[in-house]
Amino acid sequence: MAMRSAFLQITIAYAWMTLAAAASEQTAPDAVSLQHSVEATVQQPRPFGYFIGDVLTQRVLLEAAGREFAPALPRAERVGVWFERRDPRIETADEDGKRWLVLEYQIVNAPRGVMTIELPSLEIRDVVGEHALFVPAQAIEVAPLTDPTASINVAQALRADRASPLVPTRPIWRRAIALGGACAAALAAWLTWIGWRNWLARRELPFARAWVELHMLDEHAPEAWQAVHRAFDRTAGRVVQRGTLAALFQAAPHFSPLRTRIEQFYAQSSALFFGAGLPDGALSVRELCRDLRRLERRHER
C-alpha cells in the first residue's frame, strides 16, 4: 500500500514538471521580437501566499521610451496549467495621469504541496505592431488548501445526523387555539355589530320609521299624513312643501318613479290640512309609504 502511494506521488510530480515545462515553452518570448521589445515597468503581484482561486494582478505601465504606448490588448485565455487570464483593462492613475495595463490571472490549479510556479512572461505589442513591451516572468509560491498527507477515517467522518431536539408543541397549539378562538369571537362580534348597525340603519330610514308609525295609526287620520310628511322632510334634509317638491327629487332621485303619486299626496294633504278637507278617493297613505320604503331600501343597498 505504501509502495503504491509513493509511486503515485512520483508519477504526479513528474506530470506537473512536464506540464510546467510545456507551459514555460508556450509562453517564452519570441527571440526575434525581443530585439524590438522594451522592458516594461511592471508592478508585479505578491510572490507568495496563494491558493487555488486566488487572483493575481499585474500592472504594466503603458510607456515605451518615454512615449505613450497604445497596446493591442492580450486575449482572455488559459495560460499554462496554472493560470487563467481575465479580460485586461487600462486604468489611468489619478495622481500623475499615467496609463497602466491591468492584467489579472486567476490560479486555476491546486498543487499537492507548497511549490513555486511561474507567472509567464508576456510580450505586449502596440496596435501597429512596430514596438512591444516585455513583461518578465514572476515566480509565485502556491500552496494546497489542505494537507494531502492527512489521513481521513471515512467511517469516523461520516456520522449519522444528530437528532433535532423536540420542541414542546402542546403549549403552542394551546396558544394557537386560544388565539384562533379569540379571532373568531372578534370576527363574529364585528359581523354581529355590522349586521345590527345595518338593521338599525334600515329601521331608522325615514320611510321605515314612518311605516312603523303608520302601523299604530288609522291611515285616514291626520297623524298618518303627518308621519309621511316628516319622512319626506327627513329624506330631503329640509321641510318639503308642495312648492318645493323639486328639492325632494333632487335629494332623492330614486323616488322619481313615484313622482305622480307624491305630487298627489302633497295636493291632497294641502286640502286636508289647509283647505276643504280630504277629497273623495284620496290615495292610501299606507300603500304610498310601503312603496316609498321599498324604493328607499333598494337605494340603500
Binding site: 297623524e223 299624513w225 329640509r238 321641510v239 312643501q241 312648492g243 294633504s269 290640512f273 289647509f274 283647505g275
Partner: protein, 342 residues
C-alpha cells in the same frame, strides 16, 4: 256673499292686469313686480333696495301709473327738512309772500302713491314725519289734520353708498310691510335687451306702455279688507305661522344653525306682532291672486323673506353682518320649521 266673491274675482283680474301691464315695461323683475302688487292689495308700504340703476324708480313709477290717483315723489337729501314735505314758501309776482302745500299735502285724499327716493339720505326728523304719515296715514299741519287714506309709500335706497346716509331705525323699518331686494337681471336675453334695445333707454316712453289708472283706487282699502276677510287660515296653517314666529325668536328650538354663528347670542329680538300681521296679510293676498280662498304654506313662504328679513334684529356683534346672516337665517327657518304638524 256670492256678489262679494264675484266682486273679488273682478278685482283679481284687475290686479293681474296691473302686474301684466307693469311687466310690459319692466323686464326680468317678475318676483319684484308680484310682491309690490301683493303689498298694494295688502295695503302695505314697500322699501325697495338694490344696486344703482337696476330700475327701482322706474318700477315704482310704473306702478304709480297703473294704480291711478295722485302721485307725488320727493328726493331724499341731507338738507331736506320735515317742513319741505308739508309746505313750501315763495314770493309771488306781486311781491307777496306765499305758502303752498308741500308734496304730502298737495293732493289731499287723492294721494295714492308717495314715492320717497333714496329715503336713507333724508335726516331722521324727515323720516319720523314720513313714518307717522305711513302708520296713521295722516299729518298735522296748519292747525288741522290732513288724511291720506289711500296713500301707499314706496321708498327706495341704494345699497352701494353708505356715506352721508341715515340708516332707518328698526321701528322705521318695521313700518314697511316689505323690504324688497331688487336684483340685477341674470337672464342673458333680458340683459342683452336692456343694453341694446332702445325702448329701454327712454324711461318716459317706456312708462307709456303701462296702462294708466287700471284700478278704481278709491275702492282699494275696501277691497284690501275684503281680501283679508275672504281668505281663511286653517288651524294647521295658524300653527305653522306661530312656529315661524317662534323660530325668529328662538331659532335653536327648531335646530336652526348657521355656520360661524353662535345661535345663543344671535337674536336680539324676533319678528314683531306687526311683522307677523304683515306676513299673514301679504300671504292672504298671494292666495287671493292665486285664486284660492284659503292659505297654504307656500303662500307664507312666498312672502317670508320680504316680510321677516328686516324684522329680525341681531345683537350688535352680528348686526354688522346682517346682509349675509339675515338671508341665511330666513332660508334656514323655512327649511327647518315643519308643517303640517300636530
Amino acid at each position: 256673499m256670492a256678489d262679494d266673491r264675484e266682486h273679488l274675482n273682478e278685482w283679481r283680474e284687475r290686479a293681474l292686469r296691473v302686474e301684466a301691464s307693469v311687466g310690459n315695461a319692466i323686464v326680468g323683475q317678475r318676483d319684484t313686480i308680484r310682491l309690490i302688487n301683493v303689498a298694494l292689495f295688502a295695503r302695505g308700504h314697500v322699501l325697495l333696495e338694490g344696486d344703482v340703476g337696476v330700475g327701482k324708480t322706474t318700477i315704482l313709477r310704473a306702478f304709480a301709473r297703473a294704480i291711478g290717483g295722485a302721485f307725488e315723489r320727493i328726493e331724499g337729501t341731507i338738507d331736506l327738512m320735515p317742513g319741505d314735505l308739508i309746505y313750501h314758501t315763495y314770493v309771488d309776482a306781486d311781491g307777496k309772500p306765499r305758502i303752498e302745500p308741500g308734496p304730502l299735502l298737495r293732493h289731499g285724499e287723492q294721494l295714492t302713491t308717495f314715492f320717497f327716493n333714496e329715503i336713507n339720505r333724508a335726516r331722521p326728523q324727515v323720516q319720523s314725519l314720513m313714518l307717522r304719515a305711513m302708520a296713521e296715514r295722516s299729518v298735522s299741519a296748519f292747525n288741522r289734520e290732513y288724511r291720506f287714506p289711500y296713500m301707499l309709500v314706496f321708498a327706495d335706497r341704494n345699497r352701494v353708498e353708505r356715506e352721508e346716509t341715515f340708516e332707518l331705525a328698526s321701528a322705521a323699518r318695521d313700518r314697511f310691510m316689505f323690504e324688497l331686494r331688487m336684483p340685477t337681471p341674470t337672464d342673458e336675453t333680458i340683459r342683452r335687451s336692456l343694453v341694446f334695445h332702445p325702448e329701454f333707454h327712454d324711461v318716459d316712453a317706456l312708462l307709456e306702455k303701462v296702462t294708466p289708472a287700471i284700478l278704481p283706487w278709491r275702492e282699494l282699502n275696501e277691497i284690501g279688507a275684503a281680501i283679508q276677510r275672504s281668505v281663511t287660515a286653517s288651524e294647521a296653517l295658524e300653527r305653522y305661522v306661530m312656529d315661524l314666529w317662534t323660530a325668529t325668536q328662538s331659532p335653536k328650538r327648531f335646530d336652526i344653525r348657521l355656520d360661524g354663528v353662535d345661535m345663543d347670542k344671535l337674536i336680539l329680538a324676533g319678528a314683531s306682532p306687526r311683522g307677523m300681521m304683515a306676513l299673514t296679510r301679504a300671504a292672504r293676498v298671494v292666495a287671493w291672486l292665486d285664486g284660492r280662498a284659503h292659505l297654504v304654506p307656500d303662500d307664507i313662504r312666498a312672502v317670508v323673506p320680504a316680510v321677516l328679513g328686516h324684522r329680525i334684529f341681531f345683537t350688535p356683534v352680528y348686526e354688522l353682518r346682517r346682509a349675509q346672516i339675515a338671508d341665511a337665517l330666513v332660508a334656514e327657518i323655512l327649511d327647518k320649521v315643519p308643517t303640517p304638524r300636530s
